[in-house]
């Protein structure tokens, strides 16, 4: 790994930015859950609540031209990568102004102009795609990073194995970020992996890998910073295993029979937002007014997004079959 100064420059502004990003994601998703109950959002809705530090920490070190590939639990990644909340919310509503023109919904948020490549609902199915995006960069001599987020459950799929091997074999600029929230739907890691340390699996491919507290946004950012600068210096793919936890069910249908409320609440106490907020407060870097200001701005952004989504148009039925092939082709 590089010896350059990779310690992120942590000052108040920086930390407030991270905090606000996490709050944006949190409140946005709380709103989504509400809208789901009102049946304005449908399909599968997978909330990221509790895991915000991962997306926010990693995204902080990316440049605009770096690419992100995510899963169906990707609202947070989309917002952190710079997609407008309006477009993301409209997508959930299935409206034409949505980031995917309403065709994708919660699981398929895309924005090519922001190099945000989904929103992919087949577990581990996007890992090879991330490898390919990085391959294109290498072939075109572009110094860009492709970051690929996936759950610990995905590590059991053959695609994980094939993708890590290809990435290392061809020394590609990919950062694999495993969001280890301990469960794949209702299946605990202990009943799905014989080797439960995902980062150790990376060694089977000679890949540099680390694990990090995924509830601590600064730790995540620091790890991502180190890995990304190594990648930019041509040191090939890296993997970060982020230990995290989802506070809500897998999707809106989950009755959570597989874990205890105690387990959930003990994780909630070390939640990424509460943790950072407390630290800032205790260190005199966040006062009541500042906090309220953050909440207020976020609230406003969300209200606007809902209004935008509500007022946007649905695609007419006559356009059903557009965008199956390129129109002029």
């Amino acid at each position: 790994m590089t010896t350059a100064n990779t310690k992120p420059h942590i000052n108040k502004t920086h930390l407030h930015f991270l905090l606000k990003q996490m709050v944006r994601i949190r409140r946005f998703e709380e709103k989504c859950a509400e809208l789901y109950m009102q049946e304005k959002i449908r399909g599968f809705l997978h909330l990221y609540i509790g895991e915000e530090a991962v997306a926010v920490g990693v995204m902080k070190v990316l440049q605009d031209e770096d690419a992100v590939v995510a899963t169906y639990r990707e609202h947070g990644h989309a917002l952190a990568k710079g997609l407008s909340m309006n477009a993301v919310m409209a997508e959930m509503f299935g409206k034409m102004t949505g980031s995917s023109r309403g065709r994708g919904g919660s699981m398929h948020i895309f924005d090519a102009s922001k190099r945000f490549y989904g929103g992919n609902a087949i577990v581990a199915g996007a890992l090879p795609m991330a490898v390919g995006l990085a391959l294109a960069d290498k072939m075109q001599n572009r110094n860009r990073v492709t970051v690929c987020f996936f759950g610990e459950g995905a590590a059991a799929e053959g695609e994980f194995h094939e993708s890590l091997n290809l990435a290392k074999l061809w020394s590609l600029p990919v950062l694999f970020v495993c969001e280890n929230n301990m469960y794949a739907m209702g299946t605990a890691l202990s009943i799905s992996e014989s080797e439960q340390h995902i980062f150790k699996k990376a060694q089977g491919y000679g890949l540099a890998a680390v694990e990090v507290d995924g509830m601590n946004v600064v730790d995540v950012e620091a790890a991502a910073q180190k890995c990304c600068s190594a990648i930019r210096q041509g040191e090939g793919p890296h993997l970060i295993e982020c230990h995290t936890y989802r506070f809500r069910g897998h999707s809106m249908f989950d009755t959570q029979l597989y874990r205890s409320p105690d387990e959930v609440s003990s994780w909630q106490q070390k939640g990424p937002i509460v943790q950072l907020k407390q630290w800032l407060e205790q260190n005199g870097k966040l006062d009541q007014t500042e906090w309220q200001q953050i909440e207020k701005e976020v609230q406003q952004e969300i209200e606007e997004a809902v209004t935008f989504a509500e007022q946007s148009e649905l695609e007419p039925n006559s356009a059903l079959c557009r965008d199956v092939y390129q129109e002029s082709a």
Partner: protein, 330 residues
């Protein structure tokens, strides 16, 4: 026996009962798949079974479709009777090599030495706004492959009894459960009233036109038939039940009576199972047909998320009615 007060079950409960019964009846039967245990099944079919039968017989697998379907095939070769749940047909693509190149070929390419008595269950179909990667209907692909059998219980009764038939079969059977059926509730008849696995069933008799359907589309076909009846068109509705082998006898008998065919199938139109049915009828009942055979299928588009577009993309009752009337020149 229990003819007097017939039990009411949902499709989901019927399938669960079928699994329970199989597990109780044969110690070699076990259920394996993603989230069948602790989670209770992605569509809650297996809820409670872990508690009843324990972890050695209700096995939560890692996300490894090719691996655990292949393991099911091996276990079947080793004398077990696995019920493997692949959560949905969408993920079964990852296990297709195991199904097509192993399960379907082993008996033949070993010269008849090897049986693979496995049942592979999966949810299928659209209707829940799950968009392009989660709304496939690929029963036709499986129905194309010699060496496997394919069934699609469309009624609560069939959900209750067809699994046992599949398990009694010495060959691999794929069992498709349409996602929109799980909440349907109906009384469950005696097992003896359930027709054989490979038999199509006439769900409604009628002399005017034959509507052929299966799985998630059957109820739409029946609803259309009732709407048509109000317009003095008396349709016959056939539920294929078994998609491989096809019960062409029942099919041809109906068409030879009605002289008209409409197939309803949620698969994409081009290359659909509906196309196969039309081709079979055109080949075998050509001279008795009074109109071109037609089909109502899904539009040629990855299924979109919004409700109105999902509905526009998949077969709907109104469309069936309109097409049937066209076939009747009405």
């Amino acid at each position: 026996m229990h003819n007097t007060v017939q039990e009411q079950l949902t499709y989901r409960e019927a399938m669960r009962e079928a699994i329970r019964e199989a597990m109780l009846h044969d110690a070699n039967v076990f259920l394996m798949g993603e989230d069948v245990g602790h989670y209770g099944g992605c569509y809650a079919v297996s809820k409670g079974l872990l508690q009843e039968f324990g972890e050695s017989r209700i096995i939560d697998t890692p996300l490894s479709e090719s691996g655990f379907v292949g393991a099911g095939i091996g276990a079947a070769m080793g004398g077990m009777r696995p019920i493997v749940e692949v959560m949905t047909v969408n993920f079964s693509l990852l296990a297709l090599d195991q199904i097509v190149n192993n399960a379907a070929t082993l008996r033949h390419m070993s010269g008849g030495q090897i049986s693979v008595p496995i049942v592979i269950r999966m949810a299928t179909g659209a209707g829940k706004q799950l968009a392009a990667q989660h709304s496939h209907s690929l029963e036709n692909w499986y129905a194309h492959v010699p060496g496997i059998k394919v069934i699609a219980p469309a009624t609560v009764a069939d959900a209750r009894y067809m699994l046992a038939m599949a398990l009694a079969d010495p060959d691999p059977v794929m069992l498709f459960e349409h996602v929109m059926l799980y909440n349907h509730k109906a009384p469950v008849p005696n097992p003896t009233d359930c027709p054989a696995m490979a038999q199509a069933v006439v769900r409604k008799q009628g002399p005017d036109i034959t509507l052929v359907s299966y799985g998630g589309s059957l109820l739409k076909a029946l609803e259309a038939a009732h709407a048509l009846a109000e317009q003095q068109i008396n349709a016959e509705v056939i539920d294929l039940r078994c998609l491989r082998p096809l019960d062409t006898e029942t099919l041809f008998a109906s068409v030879n009576k009605t002289h008209r065919l409409l197939v309803v199938d949620e698969g994409w139109r081009t290359g659909s199972l509906a196309g196969e049915i039309c081709a079979l009828v055109a080949e075998h009942c050509f001279w008795t047909l009074d109109a071109p055979p037609q089909r109502v299928c899904s539009q040629e588009v990855p299924i979109p998320y919004p409700k109105h577009l999902e509905e526009a993309a998949t077969p709907q009752v109104e469309q069936i009615v309109t097409t049937a009337k066209q076939i009747m020149y009405r």
